[in-house]
């Protein structure tokens, strides 16, 4: 391993020495257009370069040892930015994350060390909001379940599939009224839904009814949509009590983080008919999904795809490069994140 590390450092030094472009530490896989766009502007030290065999932290340490080491890094949700990460690369002054969430970054530690953090801003917000509405319609109106019914030939053989439940007029309680939550609200209003919400503080700019805690929100809602960030305050924010308050006709949709919901209690609530159904794009231990859910027809499941469109992929590329260029030219980041601005 020591020899590998020396070879890697030499390779990186060669990479870094080429031209006058600033070095960027790239710690996530990117597609060809993204890679090309980065290489046009920066000297890219790429964890995922073909033939690059060092594990992540060793690669980071090797990158930190080259002449003119990288001052900025591009990461995704799989990279934990904590004290030991920052110790391994003391040259880093800027972390640009392409993930929607921030739960993988110790923002307080970054602030202590004067490391700026930029997130993906509103790049994903529209796609996630669109998807949340699609998930909700799917659960209430049984779109995917009806699909399976038709595909296995049951329509001809067994007759009509049961009807779903009307969306219009339902009271929808949104947990987190930030970029995503507010877009969900706007879409659901056009369906005739009544919007309720919880967030850290009431928002003066909206006329929706505010609830100071999620339990009360659930008690007065027919649908709960989780659209908040994951942090200490919001872990298991949807728990057994909240599910009971939502009630046997209630539906939960989660496009936040799996850990926003107590998954074990959710499975129990569904099994026992304490709530009517759920639409889930995220889970506590992805890619593991509680097997019991597979046998339930009143649940819609997907594999963390709410952000995955061609459009947001190319928007992300432009946005990430925008943040990097702002940093290197001494301008304010496009979408800086501060330690106290969590969970909108």
């Amino acid at each position: 391993v020591a020899l590998l590390a020396v070879v890697a450092t030499l390779k990186l030094a060669t990479m870094a020495a080429a031209g006058g472009k600033p070095a960027v530490l790239l710690l996530r896989p990117v597609d060809a257009p993204f890679a090309a766009a980065l290489r046009d502007r920066f000297r890219v030290l790429d964890l995922y370069a073909p033939g690059q065999a060092l594990p992540a932290l060793a690669f980071v340490a090797a990158a930190a040892a080259v002449p003119e080491p990288p001052r900025a890094t591009v990461i995704w949700g799989g990279v934990r930015v904590d004290a030991s990460f920052l110790d391994a690369a003391p040259s880093l002054r800027c972390v640009v994350s392409t993930a929607a969430g921030l739960d993988h970054i110790d923002l307080a530690e970054c602030a202590r060390r004067g490391v700026a953090v930029a997130n993906s801003g509103e790049v994903y917000s529209t796609d996630v909001a669109d998807y949340a509405v699609g998930l909700l319609l799917d659960v209430l109106r049984r779109v995917s379940a009806s699909e399976r019914y038709v595909r296995r030939g049951s329509w001809a053989a067994q007759g009509d599939y049961p009807l779903g439940s009307k969306l219009g007029g339902k009271r929808v309680g949104i947990i987190g009224l930030g970029n995503i939550g507010s877009r969900i609200a706007k879409r659901l209003e056009a369906f005739g839904c009544i919007i309720h919400y919880n967030s850290r503080k009431p928002k003066d700019s909206v006329s929706y009814k505010y609830f100071p805690n999620v339990h009360e929100l659930a008690a007065e809602s027919d649908v709960l949509v989780v659209a908040c960030a994951l942090n200490k305050a919001t872990r298991h924010i949807v728990n057994k009590d909240v599910l009971e308050a939502l009630g046997k006709d209630g539906v939960v949709v989660n496009i936040g983080r799996g850990a926003n919901i107590d998954e074990a209690e959710l499975v129990i609530a569904l099994r026992e008919g304490k709530i009517a159904g759920a639409g889930l794009d995220v889970f506590e231990h992805e890619p593991k999904v509680p097997a019991e859910l597979f046998s339930m027809e009143n649940v819609v499941l997907s594999r963390h795809v709410a952000v995955l469109t061609e459009e947001s992929r190319s928007d992300l590329r432009a946005h990430t490069i925008g943040n990097l260029e702002a940093f290197f030219s001494g301008q304010p980041l496009l979408t800086p994140v501060h330690a106290d601005s969590l969970a909108q």
């Binding site: 529209t126 779109v143 890619p287």
Partner: protein, 316 residues
């Protein structure tokens, strides 16, 4: 049904084309005297002024047997199973379910648009098959917001679909028999041109002689290889064998289909396609809307017997 003498029973006589759905029977039996045409004696048939129908066809022969008939009251939105020309000739009014199901159908239509573009059902099948851990990256789908949506038929259903998709930031244009000046969307006189200028083509119009196979091969070629067709109208609006061919050959990019030409038969070629969302004609209703329809049917019958304007007459 009660067997009371006509003079003792104040309830208006309403003939039935077929037995009532249980929810209708339960709600309406106290307000009207229902007699099944098949069970009625000659005197009753000669007296019957109103006929409440279901989804079975109503032909000129059926109408000829009811000389006093002034109203055919339907419980569905689509009335293409009724010989409307014969009703017009005979001076018989027809009512349908009006806007009672419009919201549900519009909601479902939008649900199908999102499900097709974002491949919801395919993503579901993927997870349920246990393939998340095994498979690598999942393919990217395409953004819903901002898509150009062309709606064929801007009536009760189409206008609600338009409002919902406009809230997603979609650009909406439409085709209908005539432009609607109050609609804030662009009117396009030919369906082929509407398809050419749209990413998503949504069908929400009635099935008539003019609209049969309105979506044919030419329209689908105009919609194009990234275009998506969503049908919550009637199967007959689309040339179904052509649709299958266009999907197989990638002439269009995908489809969301709630209706088919010969339900419940679905072209089996569609079962192997993951860019198609199939549904068992569920767009139309929810229990909540059925309750609303019962009220509307009763209100139409009441209005008819009182000589007042009908609430949801169909233009003949």
């Amino acid at each position: 049904m009660e067997d009371t003498t006509p003079s003792a029973d104040e309830r208006p006589l309403v003939l039935l084309g077929q037995p009532l759905f249980p929810e209708f029977a339960a709600a309406l039996a106290g307000r009207f005297r229902f007699v099944l045409v098949a069970d009625a004696d000659a005197a009753t048939l000669a007296q019957g002024r109103a006929l409440l129908i279901g989804l079975n066809p109503v032909t000129d022969d059926h109408l000829a047997a009811l000389p006093a008939l002034g109203l055919v009251a339907g419980i569905s939105v689509g009335v293409n199973h009724v010989d409307l020309a014969a009703c017009r000739r005979r001076g018989i009014a027809v009512t349908n379910a009006g806007a009672a199901f419009a919201v549900d159908t519009a909601d479902y239509g939008v649900g199908l648009v999102v499900a097709v573009l974002r491949r919801l059902a395919a993503a579901e099948a993927h997870v349920r098959a246990g393939r998340w851990a095994a498979d690598g990256d999942y393919p990217l789908t395409t953004k819903v917001s901002g898509k150009r949506v062309g709606i064929v038929g801007l009536g009760n259903i189409g206008s609600r679909i338009a409002r919902r998709l406009a809230a997603f930031g979609c650009a909406v244009s439409y085709n209908s028999r005539s432009p609607k000046p109050s609609a804030p969307y662009e009117f396009v006189p030919a369906v082929r041109d509407l398809a050419a200028g749209s990413d998503v083509l949504v069908l929400s119009c009635a099935l008539t002689e003019e609209t049969r196979h309105v979506v044919n091969g030419e329209v689908m070629e105009a919609l194009g290889k990234d275009g998506v067709l969503v049908n919550v109208g009637r199967g007959g609006l689309v040339d179904e064998p052509e649709l299958v061919r266009c999907l197989q050959e990638g002439v269009i990019g995908g489809a969301g289909l709630d209706v088919f030409e010969s339900e419940p038969d679905v072209p089996p070629e569609l079962f192997s396609m993951d860019n198609v969302v199939l549904s068992a004609h569920r767009a139309v209703a929810t229990p909540e809307s059925i309750r609303g329809t019962i009220e509307l049917v009763a209100a139409n019958l009441d209005a008819f017997f009182a000589g007042k304007p009908l609430l949801s007459p169909v233009e003949l």
